[in-house]
């Protein structure tokens, strides 16, 4: 099976079944009905409507937007599928949009491949696809090609999504971790760890009740605003798994510089901080799904900060640290106590502490 499933002629009949069966991945009429009704109906756009084996994208119109393509892919697996602040569908669109955006690219096209577990309720799939539609409309990207597979019960956990994205990078914009230099300033666009904390609570294993919501949001608008005031932005990255600490360690190692964070400047919601206290977690390592880490030259820092704060996805932006020459390859935290410690890469997942 390949991406040709989306090219099936659209049928008028409303899809009636309630659960996914292996027949929906068989290539036959059951699959065609599912795709027509759930996917093609939702993601309706001119490219998809051509219903070919592949999306065909006009090069000339792309070249008007910039001089390089940005191309990225990501797979989404999350438990639970729905959580406060989003679901796997919003993640699958915003996550790939953000991976494109942090290169300075305008995100344009996404693919959507799903792996469904036999027995999944079709209403769940519909809700997820609806979320993808809403999220893609908000960003202004089109979902132009896709694929559907069904695996036997137990071979996948309900629903996995892969999205691949294409965007165009404006001429003259080329942020890269290797451009980071001593003296540069590090900013983030808001509170850290909201997504990781929201997912932990949503799993229900902690018996905690909180109002923490995932920060799942697209960053393309914020990146546009930053690039327009600071075309020589050194580096940008979307701090997802591993959190701010992991991104900054990657930056420090790529550019062979040190980075010093200031504990007092790092924005963390008090509910998230409280949860971390209880479980022995560090919010610097918790996942985010809409947090931008930006490194800019020192003379642009104030303007970039003001620009970020005037944008809806950057209103809680903060300068959190600066780039230093030594120790190279290391991230330091200046604690509120006036001491310094290393903020290292995690070996694996953060695990709750026993005492």
């Amino acid at each position: 099976m390949n991406i040709s499933h989306l090219k099936m002629p659209q049928r008028k009949k409303k899809f009636q079944e309630r659960t996914i069966t292996l027949a929906h991945g068989s290539g036959g009429s059951a699959m065609r009905d599912l795709i027509d009704d759930v996917f093609v109906g939702s993601f309706d756009n001119p490219t998809l409507s051509l219903l070919e084996d592949q999306a065909r994208i006009d090069l000339n119109s792309l070249m008007l937007l910039g001089d390089r393509l940005a191309f990225t892919t990501d797979s989404y697996v999350v438990t639970p599928l729905f959580f406060p602040g989003g679901d796997i569908g919003t993640l699958a669109v915003n996550g790939t949009v953000n991976d494109l955006s942090v290169s300075g690219a305008k995100p344009l096209f996404l693919s959507c491949s799903v792996i469904l577990e036999e027995g999944l309720e079709i209403d769940i799939l519909r809700r997820v696809v609806d979320s993808m539609k809403t999220a893609s409309l908000a960003v202004g990207v089109q979902i132009v090609t896709g694929d559907t597979k069904v695996v036997p019960r137990g071979s996948a956990d309900k629903l996995f999504i892969n999205t691949t994205g294409i965007g165009v990078i404006k001429t003259g914009i080329s942020p890269s971790a290797r451009e980071i230099q001593p003296g540069d300033i590090v900013l983030v666009n808001g509170t850290l760890g909201d997504h990781g904390a929201a997912i932990l609570v949503a799993r229900g294993e902690l018996s905690l009740e909180t109002d923490i919501k995932s920060d799942c949001q697209p960053l393309n608008g914020l990146v546009d605003a930053i690039v327009s005031v600071c075309p020589n932005v050194r580096a940008m990255r979307d701090a997802t798994r591993g959190g701010l600490a992991t991104v900054l360690n990657e930056f420090a190692q790529s550019a062979n510089v040190g980075i010093r964070l200031h504990e007092s400047a790092i924005p963390v919601k008090k509910e998230v901080a409280g949860m971390c206290e209880l479980l022995g977690f560090d919010p610097l390592y918790l996942a985010n799904e809409g947090k931008l880490v930006v490194v800019v030259p020192p003379d642009s820092a104030d303007e970039v900060l003001a620009t970020m704060r005037s944008h809806p996805t950057g209103k809680d932006a903060q300068i959190v640290g600066e780039v230093i020459a030594n120790p190279a390859g290391v991230v330091l935290l200046k604690t509120d106590f006036g001491t310094e410690r290393i903020v290292d890469m995690l070996v694996g997942e953060q695990l709750p502490r026993i005492c």
Binding site: E205, E277, V330, T339, R341, I354
Partner: protein, 378 residues
């Protein structure tokens, strides 16, 4: 965060540091004053807040054997893994025990290989899993000092009253005072006093530490876990030394009472008995330092219900954790620190969990190692 931030006030910390400096100057000694913080939670806080860098050079902290995950011997982990791999068993454990390597691999790797191993936040979660899976045998990997032992004991009592038949403990609870006595009996030991454990003491109180003050003539100050708690406790230990006192004092009086928590102690007493000896990673067999299930609760005792290897496995030859736990060596003075022994591939107890002294130095403190090396007090 109310009642937490108050204990992290840098101005107050500065006042304490100055007072520690002043009092320690009154003690005439050609060596630094060595104070052991026993508890892994204290070690974690000391590194997280960089307290060692604030302290005067006359004070040296020794990081003790108080991380229950670190001191679990390889043989017991092998037993846990063997148990988890038996058919029809759901093996439940606290999260931070998952990555600790046995002689071949960890519970995390055993899980990847197909064992049904589940992380829980409380032993009651394990009991719940047992109720939900009556056709399976659910084993809880009971580890920890007197801090966690009462909740395990209460879970067994709950299982008894709920008539749950498919739940058992693999009991590895350990006791803090016998371990300290074993350290103190060692002629190599170079310690002047102790910052005593906080959470353990909420259960056992402060009275059990009297033996350390009376028999071994070392001050003990039971401490809370916030940076100001720890600094104040260090100040109290140094003050005792300056005044030539050896007493048990309680800095953590907002939670710890001298006689402890009677309900918790009673639950432990009902379910557990003291083992003749228990092996500690890095320290070897320590008499009367571990807990086992009482015979009347044998039906909840995995050691009575199942068979497993039960072999002692020696620590790696190059590992010097024993010397580090006694305060004879600093982590970075170990031959394999940061080379053959890292948090990714720990050889010894102290590198295993983030609360172990070596892992804490590796994770938070590598920069200051050089600085501390230069410290020589005349």
């Amino acid at each position: 965060m109310k009642y937490i931030n108050e204990f992290r006030d840098p101005q107050k910390a500065q006042i304490l540091i100055e007072q520690i400096q002043q009092i320690s100057n009154q003690i005439s000694s050609d060596k630094p004053i060595k104070i052991m913080e026993v508890c892994g939670g204290h070690t974690h806080a000391i590194f997280k807040y960089g307290l060692e860098d604030l302290l005067p050079k006359t004070i040296e902290l020794v990081h003790g054997p108080g991380c229950p995950v670190c001191i679990m011997p390889k043989g017991r982990l092998d037993d846990a893994i063997a148990l988890a791999q038996q058919p029809n068993i759901i093996f439940t454990t606290f999260g931070d025990a998952m990555r600790v390597p046995g002689s071949k691999y960890s519970l995390l790797q055993a899980k990847a290989n197909g064992a049904d191993i589940r992380m829980v936040y409380s032993p009651l979660d394990a009991l719940q899993i047992a109720k939900q899976n009556p056709e399976k045998e659910v084993v809880f990997f009971a580890i920890g000092f007197e801090t966690t032992a009462p909740s395990t004991a209460l879970t067994v009592l709950q299982a008894e009253s709920d008539r749950v038949e498919n739940f058992s403990l693999f009991c590895n609870h350990v006791l803090v005072v016998p371990a300290l006595e074993a350290l103190l009996a060692n002629p190599d030991l170079q310690l002047n006093g102790f910052v005593g454990p906080g959470h353990v003491s909420t259960v056992i109180g402060t009275e059990p530490y009297q033996v350390i003050a009376e028999r071994y003539h070392k001050p003990v100050v039971v401490s809370g876990f916030e940076p100001l708690d720890i600094l104040q406790s260090i100040w109290m230990v140094v003050k005792q030394l300056a005044e030539k006192r050896c007493e048990v004092e309680n800095q953590y009086s907002r939670l710890v009472q001298s006689h402890g928590n009677a309900v918790a102690l009673d639950a432990m007493q009902r379910v557990f008995a003291v083992r003749e000896a228990f092996e500690w990673r890095g320290l070897g067999d320590i008499p009367l330092s571990g807990l086992k299930m009482r015979p009347e609760y044998a039906r909840f005792d995995a050691e009575a219900k199942f068979t497993f290897p039960g072999r002692q496995v020696a620590d790696h030859k190059a590992c010097q954790c024993g010397e580090i736990l006694k305060g004879v060596l600093k982590p970075w003075q170990c031959k394999v620190f940061g080379t053959a022994c890292t948090p990714e591939h720990p050889l010894g107890a102290c590198m295993v969990s983030s609360e172990g002294a070596c892992a804490a130095y590796y994770k938070y403190g590598r920069l200051s190692i050089g600085k501390r090396e230069e410290v020589k007090v005349n």
